[in-house]
Subunit: 458 residues, 2 copies
């Protein structure tokens, strides 16, 4: 039979088991913090109806959508009825609109699932990737205070991931729009276009943005462009400095004043949530590409790895599900692109492979004693210790090699000599040491060893 | 703007948060046992290349495949290059063939992901559903002992799920083929056809199967058909009875003797793995529809809910990845269809909604004291207690109603009176009781309360 070469489609991240364990550990840390902050789990189907998924604003996104068809529906032709989700926000909007009367508001949900985008194949670009989202959705209204709670979640997640210092950068869309208003840029559309240019500052630099803003299409005065560039260059260096920089902006249009007040409230409450001041800052250049943010916006950057870009972003939006319900549902949310983050952290050498989830290998010194080895494994498992028992007969050296390659830290050895004396040998493969304990002390001893090994890793 | 009605595609199971928590709990129990038995996690992309997914044997499965296309590739026409996996076995075969030289054998992997089948829309039939699989893959060979380890995993999983008594039913394909050989049915194809008919016994009854076997196409003697029906009617009622029923079969063809010996070895070792004898039995009618099983086969049935059918099935196969590699990779595996199982258990009233993952609600008695409430929430979260703090001002009665509807058990209340005396009030919403503790004792007290509440549930 001719063989089909085994390979995945391009644009996916498939991991070997020890890497998968490391990735799983990252997801568990994220999930644990989401739950500790009182967010509830939601999972939605990977497929949504096409009319739900594709709204008029589609554009770029729509061209990246993967449509799904069974053989039967392909034969019929026409636009496919279902497609794969490209983010978790549209499914959330549909979910909240569909189950509105069975949910409690403010509705706090977390969702950690894969999404799909037909991106151009490119290193570090994924067509399938995990997003880890939390959102708080209000009915009719939602206090600005929730905008301060999410940075506290971000702080807790990335502190626990132990990937170095990071800064949660805060801005407010009203503040930005108001600032443009103060400068005479009052048309909403034009403000959006200016926001989009400002968003390119990091990638293209100030000269490019100044040229665009004063050039054809925009036609802003050079002095206005300079004031905008000066404004968006603002970064704070601590809590008091952030408040001072806000105060220095003075007063202006109603939108402007509201933006300043919101950002001040958020800053004050972030501190109350226990986030150390070195972990957050205002950055008036943060605009976020998406048009639906209307107030607070966030990005999160690793201080020592700025090239990675934002590792957690989000913001406040005015109305979640206007396409599906007449209810007014304002919300605030953040998203972590876990697949890309994991890939980048690995590229940057910030994470290695995980320790195996298998903690102990019960070796097979004497095939005739197999029931004894199986009984030991059963006892360890009942004590909550992840245990593999060698069932295939073979040389002990080969069994150790297997444990070593598989990343299993401890091996248990029992031969006729040990049986006669009612003891077992525990071999620590990392330290290449072994010692004897009584059979009765096996579980207790291994628990201590495993706790120590875990403590050494963190 | 015209509204699009919010709805999911047919054939998916989308859950409200408290149901999602219950489902998540089921997955966690399964995952915990898979890991305790030393299986390693693998996740594969939801999409596989079409030539990987669809091999010649396709047939029924192929007609159920969902193809995936981006807008660009739809415009090009032709057979779509990628499709959604319909099980986790084909992806496992591709994974092992692709990463063969980086894996350790025997390779023990677990995988818990969703799969997709374009089933006819029907109550209780899902087009998207979770499968939870474990497999042990050997290189060149794999000891029969692993066939005994998997029932031990099944026993541990379903014992921990607490859904009532169950029986792991065991059979062996070699035993069945050998028995047919002994009766003169020596052609392999014909044996497969007989196996398929026998597999219908539960659904169609003995008369239907006897008629088919003696009718056109098969043309077996009535006495042969009767001996087959008698054989497949065999069920054991305990460990010794299972061995006795095996012994009573006597000797026959080489395949037959091998099947008897394998099943006997498996039975002996299952006992050594600590599975109580009331949880396993031989059942010579278990054939499993899939053609690739070659030795041991399993089904698992709830004793008190036979209508649910098998809740965990699997078996031994001769070669996992013959389409993708020349390496000979025998294996044994089981699969739990978690979505269907959850749905059926809920229909049968065997599981309710989960307790909320949110353990405590810190109420807002006095808006001016918000930083204090936030600080209490932060302290509880740092202690590992999942806590929501009310940020929206509102009446206390409304806050309690929210906690009650959301399934949050404990509320923390702090007003000016409590602040003056440095105490807090803990309200147990389930018992409708409240009591006071000193501020310093809050974490300690809540931990005890939560432990008691958890103990009451299990």
């Amino acid at each position: 039979m001719a063989l089909t070469p085994a390979r995945t489609p391009p644009g996916v991240l498939e991991l070997l088991p020890l890497d998968q364990i490391a990735f799983q550990g990252m997801l568990d840390t994220i999930r644990g913090n989401f739950e500790r902050f009182g967010f509830l789990p939601v999972e939605t189907p990977v497929m949504e109806l096409t009319d739900i998924l594709l709204t008029k604003e589609g554009g770029e996104t729509e061209r990246q959508v993967y449509f799904v068809q069974s053989t039967g529906s392909m034969e019929k032709g026409g636009t496919p009825e279902i497609a794969l989700r490209f983010d978790l926000t549209v499914p959330l909007a549909r979910y909240v609109a569909e189950h509105e009367h069975q949910l409690n508001f403010p509705f706090r949900r977390y969702q950690m699932q894969r999404v799909y985008r037909g991106e151009r194949a490119q290193r570090g670009r994924f067509r399938e990737f995990y997003q880890c989202d939390i959102d708080v959705i209000g009915k009719d209204s939602l206090s600005i205070r929730y905008d301060a709670e999410l940075p506290a979640v971000i702080y807790n997640v990335f502190r626990d991931l132990k990937i170095g210092p990071f800064t949660i950068q805060l801005n407010n869309r009203k503040l930005m729009r108001g600032f443009f208003e103060n400068l005479g840029v009052v048309d909403g559309e034009k403000q959006t276009l200016v926001l989009r240019e400002v968003d390119k500052l990091d990638k293209r630099g100030a000269d490019y943005v100044r040229e665009t803003l004063t050039g054809e299409g925009f036609g802003l005065d050079a002095s206005v462009a300079d004031r905008i560039l000066d404004f968006v260059g603002t970064r704070s260096t601590g809590h008091d400095d952030a408040l001072a920089k806000l105060a220095a902006l003075g007063h202006g249009s109603e939108t402007f004043n509201q933006g300043v007040a919101e950002l001040r409230d958020v800053l004050e409450l972030i501190r109350a949530f226990g986030v150390p001041e070195s972990y957050y800052a205002v950055n008036f250049s943060i605009a976020r590409g998406l048009d639906y943010y209307t107030g607070t916006v966030y990005e999160t950057h690793l201080v020592e790895h700025p090239q990675i870009g934002s590792i957690c972003s989000g913001g406040r939006y005015e109305n979640l599900a206007g396409h599906y319900t007449k209810s007014h549902l304002p919300g605030v949310g953040i998203s972590i692109g876990a697949t890309r983050l994991f890939w980048q952290l690995r590229e940057a050498g910030l994470i290695g492979t995980g320790a195996s989830t298998v903690e102990v290998l019960v070796t097979q010194m004497d095939e005739a004693e197999l029931p004894r080895y199986v009984a030991i494994a059963t006892e360890l498992r009942q004590a909550g210790i992840a245990t593999e028992v060698v069932l295939e007969p073979g040389k002990l050296a080969k069994q150790f090699k297997y444990a070593d390659r598989a990343g299993i830290r401890f091996a248990v050895l029992v031969g006729s000599n040990e049986i006669a004396r009612d003891v077992v040998v525990i071999k620590d493969l990392a330290r290449q040491e072994q010692f004897e304990v009584t059979r009765a002390d096996l579980v207790k001893t291994l628990r201590v060893e495993l706790e120590q090994a875990a403590a050494m890793r963190t």
